[in-house]
Symmetry: C2
Subunit: 261 residues, 2 copies
């Protein structure tokens, strides 16, 4: 299975321009699943909820239509961050797009900082079967809570797709390695780079998107800056093998009899 990500730097609020650039980068892709960053069409650093509302879109909508067209042409499935509007609420979501259109939407469950003023949190973890492989989705800050990835892994996820707009340097690059290892899953962290300034405050996004193997090894890591479309071939069966020694299994060795949560 060919999996990958697009590291990208959207221009804040320029949704048409961003979609066009994404389309240009992806339209000749040869891959099974490709992950895009969090909010790659709208940008991230909203000053007000009103500003976010103006940039939000429904599912299906312009972004999923654009990705569906590429999916139809190339056979690639996409997991993309999206500023989702639904029933008057805003969500910081990841949407999974197939040749038939968007097939499921994960709404970020751990909202970071001011996102709490703009978005409703999601209330659901789930996995989706793509070409016989079980996919789970998380968004950015979800990485800090081990229970989120653990929940997906226990549900059977083999690949965790993780659109991100990371601002804390090197943190998620570490946590996602540990999450992949402790659950023995593949992890695709698609981060953005660049910066956004609002009212004298600047968010700098840390790039270094990465794909991690179930043994915790970095298969590939991008630079801190610069667009990169990276695709690699993996064997998703590796994520079904939960043993780390002949006698140790990351699921069976868990002591759920004595953990508190």
């Amino acid at each position: 299975m060919k999996i990958g990500y697009l590291q990208f730097n959207p221009d804040f609020g320029k949704t048409d321009k961003n979609r066009e650039q994404i389309q240009n980068k992806l339209e000749n892709i040869k891959a099974d699943i490709v992950v895009l960053p969090e909010l790659p069409v709208s940008g991230y650093f909203f000053s007000t909820k009103k500003e976010a509302e103006i940039l939000a879109e429904p599912i299906p909508g312009p972004t999923t239509n654009m990705l569906q067209k590429i999916s139809l042409k190339t056979g690639t499935y996409f997991v993309s961050g999206i500023l989702e509007k639904s029933n008057g609420n805003l969500y910081n979501s990841a949407v999974l797009i197939s040749p038939e259109g968007p097939i499921s939407t994960y709404r970020k469950t751990h909202l970071f900082y001011k996102e709490k003023e703009f978005f409703q949190p999601g209330n659901d973890y789930f996995i989706v079967d793509i070409k016989g492989v079980k996919i789970g989705m998380l968004v950015c800050f979800d990485h800090l809570f081990p229970e989120a990835a653990r929940t997906l892994a226990l549900m059977g996820a083999q690949i965790i797709c993780h659109p991100s707009n990371l601002v804390l340097p090197e943190i998620a690059q570490q946590t996602t390695r540990v999450r992949a290892l402790e659950n023995r899953v593949f992890w695709i962290m698609a981060n953005r780079y660049g910066s956004e300034t609002k009212k004298g405050k600047t968010n700098t996004y840390t790039g270094k998107s990465q794909i991690i193997a179930p043994n915790g090894k970095i298969i590939h890591q991008s630079s801190a800056e610069g667009d990169e479309l990276y695709i690699t071939e993996i064997d998703p069966e590796d994520a079904l093998k939960k043993n780390i020694t002949e006698l140790n299994n990351v699921f069976e060795d868990r002591r759920t009899d004595i953990y508190i949560n």
Copy 2:
């Protein structure tokens, strides 16, 4: 509060010699809590359960007596790995020693590889109050299971003391940084170094003992080889502050309503 560790390389099976060397290194110590590696008196790589039985000791016993004497003289509390014999069973334990003697014993709950043939697992996590600071204990492989550290942190642990004999290079150096960060606790990982060979198989222990701050930063890391007694001053109150932004708290933001375990 002054916390630290002793990185050390015991000579397998030479319990008297190892105790003497530990005593020499610690007897003039000035610290509040010092952590020793896993099994620093017996060594680790047992060929048979019989061999482990011969090297095991009760609590209280020769090792805790030796550490109690130093504790009485210096006022330092110790967390040491110990090969514990109790009611005919063997445990891979961490014992907390005060001037009054051993005050509590944690038995490793996640046994690594052949340990499953030698030891009974422990069935309990708990915290102990030392000089007004809440201490939790884990042993070596427990680090791989995020639920173990999370359980101690939720119980109120400010410092996690982690005697280790790590053989997988660089893994626990990563996981313990992430555990400290995701729980906002101090973490003292006291590892051994050197190697042990039995029946043509060699265990190489990876050193690089480390102390991590609640923000995930490495306060100090030892070399891969060599004895080191390292002590540093910390403010344990830092581990009571669970916010990572004004609006994000590593405990309050948890979504226990939707996690599965």
